[in-house]
């Protein structure tokens, strides 16, 4: 997992161009390609190409974040903490966009923006759990302590998110497709034609998340070094 991120060298251009290409394709294909004709949902079925990749992106960002939290706890390298935080940051942005786009979609298909759907509630609670991660980090002054407690809480947050988003909605009935007993995307939920746009969109958005996170990481590294040097000069 961590190796996967390292493979995406922050200076290299191929995966950034791939990201731009896939996102372009998802916008053009997402609007113009054929989708199943469904009542109530109508053309809003196309929102699936943009709303769902937000959640895929969020989970992926949080997964990398947790990976580096574990890594930090194993070898106490400050750089792993920086990577962990910045991926959590980017994941949170994806999650907020997912919630907002979901509310717009729900308003026109379910009748209200907040339907109280188990998956919707679960996603909101998962975001609150991650908000607490940043509150926890912000409340600690000592770098070492902040990184250690942050890493421990990060692992907890990730494993709290899994049941909230993936398990509980399937145990009860949910308006989200693939919930209420069925496994995720089966042939009834996702038309084969839609996969041609959906999966490239997911990969494109994940790559965009990695891009943004890598920029934040690079800036943080320079900031840390400058602060370290200033501190050494002071002593």
């Amino acid at each position: 997992m961590g190796g996967l991120f390292q493979m995406l060298n922050s200076k290299s251009i191929w995966w950034k161009s791939l990201c731009a290409l896939l996102l372009m394709y998802s916008v053009v294909g997402g609007f113009l390609m054929r989708v199943p004709r469904l009542s109530i949902v109508n053309e809003t079925i196309r929102a699936l190409y943009y709303h769902v990749p937000m959640w895929f992106g969020m989970v992926f960002m949080f997964l990398i974040s947790t990976w580096y939290a574990v890594k930090y706890l194993r070898n106490h390298r400050m750089d792993d903490d920086i990577i962990s935080v910045e991926f959590a940051n980017t994941g949170l942005v994806f999650g907020l966009l997912g919630i907002v786009t979901g509310m717009i979609w729900a308003n026109y298909t379910w009748g209200t923006p907040w339907h109280g759907d188990p998956k919707q509630n679960g996603a909101a609670i998962a975001l609150l759990v991650y908000f607490a991660y940043f509150v926890l980090r912000g409340s600690l002054r000592n770098d070492e302590q902040r990184a250690r407690l942050g890493a421990v809480y990060n692992i907890f947050a990730f494993f709290a998110m899994i049941p909230l988003i993936f398990i509980i909605p399937r145990m009860t009935s949910s308006m989200h497709p693939g919930s209420g007993g069925n496994p995720g995307f089966n042939m009834y939920d996702l038309d084969n034609n839609m996969r041609k746009v959906f999966y490239p969109a997911v990969i494109g958005w994940i790559l965009l998340g990695c891009w943004i996170a890598s920029l934040r990481i690079r800036l943080r590294r320079i900031e840390e070094r400058i602060l370290d040097e200033a501190y050494e000069k002071g002593v």
Binding site: L23, V27, V28, F31, L32, I212, L219
Partner: protein, 79 residues
């Protein structure tokens, strides 16, 4: 200048007359962009926004690289 203005106004009058004359016939327009409930317009807008965002990210990326270079140089020049 005066002559130019006069020529232009005559041209304008002629054009309006021509347009008025051509009205009943089928007029060629860029209908492609308006087909299927004008969906192509939305696609164009989204493509522009996406291009703008990605372009902005590329600029930010280059700026970060420059900052990294500058930091490295600054560090090497110090004793």
């Amino acid at each position: 200048m005066k002559l130019m203005k006069r020529v232009f106004s005559i041209f304008l009058v002629l054009m309006t007359a021509l347009l008025a004359h051509a009205q009943p016939q089928e007029i060629e327009m860029a209908d492609g962009m308006r087909a299927e409930g004008k969906i192509y317009v939305v696609v164009a807008i989204l493509v522009v926004i996406l291009l703008g965002l990605i372009g902005y990210l590329v600029l930010l990326d280059r700026k970060t690289s420059r900052l990294e270079e500058k930091y490295k140089e600054n560090r090497q020049s110090r004793p």
